[in-house]
């Protein structure tokens, strides 16, 4: 009797805990298993990769990028009227918000003005030089700047929100309203979007453990996964008959950040020695996803500011030793490498450690939880650190990362690199020379652009992974669930 009652309560409680968006009558949603759920779907706040990727499905923005990362019209085309004035004209016919209202110049103005007034948004700082936004008519938006900014259009990638809802203080973070190809269906325990063109539902299912993501795909609980898997799991998936794996060359740049203010690392010979002490190609061949490739600069060679002429540093441990000795260093040289606790990162660290040993470098690995690790990196409290730049589109990154005046909070020059010659080249925006100089001076040791991949079941067709790992492929995906 008691047991039965307990069981009854348990079932009731389970029913309360288990709440989802799915109803039995409609066709089921495409389940996309992701490593990290989005946090905040207000484009004025979102910074984490998952939120930004979902936001690109929910909202439209003024400017987009082509495959060479040139800015191209999104919602609007533009003209630079003078150094301080940009005029944007919305494309016709006007886009329509999910609530049925047209997206006009007033919405663009309201979005950017509200962003400027926010006190706790990480994006506000980037628009501080907007002096005034005016809308001569419902299709035209004029931006007046307080200082010249040739890269201004490339910044206008914040999703446009309806002015009316902004005024009403709507919670876009949890109830997004945009004009993108998808709109929010519901967001209980999982986020579910619905595609406007045909009603296809996509459910974003957070599954942190990579093994479990693979098992869910194999079992049919997930239809699609993308990225964030160790290569052996990708290889396992490639052997499965019911699963398709698509890979594409990536554009996200992984590197070793050097603190050039640290002892020894000030000397460019030591930095070069480290570059010669790493066998990047061997790592790519053995422990990385296919389509990964050696990197020489933050922006890949196909980018309009990329530099295909740069040659990678090859693995020459003997030369590395000589360089270290010529710098007057008694071997072995002990260096501390900080990284996160991500298993693939830790594994790569141990490989680097083994490779560098042959060059007389004793690499000590410190694997720290993300919060601690990133705080250390931002404060310059490291000798070597391993990170990846994700989704970088504009060459402005070079001055933000290596410019003498870009120490945090002005930029991301966390390693304290100062180089007058590079500053001049940056000022002239001479990108081939900039990338060459950085490649010679090595404030970063370039590693690779990791290949991107997606794996999906036979119910999914025409999904295309993107070089920066975004989820835009969902806009075109075809989904035909079989009766499982």
């Amino acid at each position: 009797m008691l047991l039965r009652r307990v069981a009854g309560y348990s079932l009731l409680a389970i029913a309360l805990v288990l709440s989802g968006c799915q109803s039995d009558t409609e066709p089921r949603a495409l389940v996309f298993a992701i490593a990290q759920a989005p946090v905040n779907l207000d484009p004025r706040y979102a910074t984490d990769a998952a939120s930004e990727r979902v936001n690109h499905l929910l909202y439209q923005r003024l400017v987009e990028f082509d495959s060479a990362s040139h800015e191209v019209p999104g919602l609007a085309s533009w003209q630079m009227q003078d150094a301080l004035h940009y005029r944007f004209q919305l494309q016709r016919p006007l886009a329509v918000f999910h609530d049925g209202k047209p997206l006009t110049a007033a919405d663009v103005k309201a979005t950017y003005e509200s962003l400027l007034q926010l006190k706790n948004s990480p994006h506000t700082a980037e628009f501080k030089h907007i002096k005034q936004i005016s809308t001569p008519d419902s299709h035209t938006i004029d931006f007046e700047l307080s200082r010249p900014d040739p890269h201004f259009p490339a910044r206008l990638i914040i999703g446009i929100l309806p002015a009316e809802l902004i005024t009403a203080g709507h919670d876009f973070g949890h109830a997004p309203v945009g004009s993108g190809p998808f709109k929010l269906n519901c967001w209980d325990s999982e986020l579910e979007l619905v595609r406007l063109s045909d009603g296809l539902k996509v459910s974003f299912n957070e599954v942190k453990d990579p093994n479990v993501r693979v098992l869910k795909l194999k079992r049919g609980e997930a239809d699609l996964i993308q990225g964030d898997l160790p290569p052996e799991l990708v290889k396992y998936l490639q052997k499965q008959p019911d699963i398709t794996v698509q890979t594409v060359a990536g554009a996200n740049y992984s590197y070793l950040g050097l603190n050039v203010q640290a002892e020894f690392l000030r000397d460019v010979r030591v930095r070069r020695a480290i570059a010669y002490a790493i066998d990047t190609q061997a790592i790519i061949d053995k422990v990385m996803v296919s389509h990964s490739r050696q990197a020489n600069a933050i922006l890949p060679p196909e980018h309009y500011a990329g530099n295909p002429a740069l040659q990678p540093y090859s693995y020459q441990p003997e030369l590395a030793r000589q360089l270290l000795q010529s710098a007057g260093i008694k071997l072995p040289l002990t260096l501390v490498y900080k990284t996160s606790t991500d298993p693939q990162r830790v594994r790569l660290a141990t490989i680097l450690q083994a490779q560098m040993q042959a060059a007389g470098i004793d690499l000590q690995i410190k694997s720290l939880d993300w919060g601690t690790f990133f705080a250390d990196v931002q404060k310059g409290n490291f000798q070597l650190s391993g990170l990846t730049w994700v989704g970088i589109k504009t060459p402005e990154i070079y001055s933000k990362v290596f410019g003498s005046g870009s120490a945090p909070p002005q930029g991301f020059n966390r390693g304290g690199y100062r180089d007058a010659e590079l500053d001049t080249l940056l000022k002239n925006e001479d990108w081939p020379a900039v990338t060459r100089r950085i490649h010679e001076q090595l404030p970063y040791i370039p590693l690779w652009y990791e290949g991107q991949f997606a794996a999906y079941r036979s119910s999914v067709e025409a999904y295309q992974p993107m070089p920066d790992g975004n989820w835009d492929g969902l806009a075109k995906v075809v989904f035909q669930p079989s009766d499982e």
């Binding site: 805990v17 288990l18 700082a125 325990s189 869910k216 079992r219 609980e221 919060g371």
Partner: protein
């Protein structure tokens, strides 16, 4: 009873002070996390004021405690969701998982332990001992995926992970419950063997009681007493959120909420989670104590 509850107060105050102090000593700053590196010092200051992080630690602590007394844990720095809502979602999930795992542990552990004790020295006993030691040694991060592979992927009986159907609870609960059952098997066996050697058992047998009556009426009650403590302690750690199991099985419990909040330096969420976990621990301990008194008449008079 009231005396018991008042004795909880210092523990709770201690927990509040400790989590508050520890979190503020950990490197990493919520303002950095929210605004990124490129924010101007002025914006940084402004946000600090908004979050109350500009005030002295004493003031922040005072504010925090007074809010909690009003039942307000604040909002998550990251998602702006009220923390009470987050807890209301996560805690029941953890409770259900913990009770199911405990039931599995008890249902397997106690019968096996009894059987093992009754067959002490025989091959059955050796086998149970071998199996339970191996089970106790299996970490959740290994056992979980193996169970998934077998029961979800190969056999297709159960969902891999998530919380989409009532069957979803089986694998995480079994992962936790098997480890627990191994401990309970060992404890039951040892304890029962001890009791079976007592004089009063010999007396009971001499009275002509059947072996079944001896076991059920006399031996078991005494033998299971030490188990109450173990079960209490284990329940405490289950309620503290079986972090690894919850993460592997995408079970949105309090352990997962806690670890997520620590990674993101979401101070208010971490504090609330630790407080709730500590409270559960203390309450379970008190309940264990009460159960012990109820079961064992000898301890009733003791203070």
């Amino acid at each position: 009873m009231i005396k018991r509850l008042t004795s909880l107060l210092p523990v709770i105050i201690g927990v509040l002070c400790l989590t508050f102090a520890l979190l503020h000593m950990v490197p990493g700053d919520p303002v950095d996390v929210m605004l990124g590196e490129s924010a101007s010092p002025a914006d940084r200051e402004l946000l600090k004021v908004q979050l109350g992080l500009d005030q002295s630690l004493y003031m922040q602590f005072g504010q925090y405690v007074s809010n909690i007394l009003k039942g307000d844990f604040g909002v998550s720095i990251h998602t702006q969701t009220p923390i009470t809502q987050l807890l209301a979602q996560a805690y029941p999930a953890t409770l259900i998982l913990a009770f199911t795992a405990l039931s599995i542990g008890l249902l397997i552990g106690i019968p096996l332990g009894i059987w093992s004790a009754l067959k002490a020295g025989h091959w059955q006993d050796v086998m149970v001992t071998m199996v339970s030691i191996r089970l106790a040694a299996m970490p959740a991060f290994w056992l979980g995926p193996v169970l998934m592979l077998v029961f979800a992927v190969w056999l297709g009986w159960l969902p891999v992970s998530g919380m989409s159907s009532p069957a979803s609870i089986i694998l995480p609960a079994v992962t936790l419950g098997l480890g627990l059952s191994a401990i309970l098997t060992r404890m039951t066996r040892t304890s029962l063997l001890e009791v079976l050697n007592e004089d009063y058992i010999r007396t009971a047998r001499a009275k002509g009681l059947s072996e079944r009556q001896v076991l059920l009426k006399h031996a078991l009650r005494a033998a299971l007493l030490p188990l109450v403590t173990i079960v209490g302690l284990q329940m405490g750690s289950l309620l503290a959120g079986a972090v690894i199991t919850e993460t592997i099985f995408s079970w949105n419990g309090i352990g997962r909420l806690l670890v997520d909040s620590i990674e993101k330096r979401d101070y208010p969420v971490t504090q609330a989670c630790v407080l709730v976990i500590a409270l559960s621990y203390v309450l379970i301990n008190q309940a264990t104590d009460l159960a012990y008194r109820w079961l064992d008449p000898r301890t009733r008079g003791a203070r």
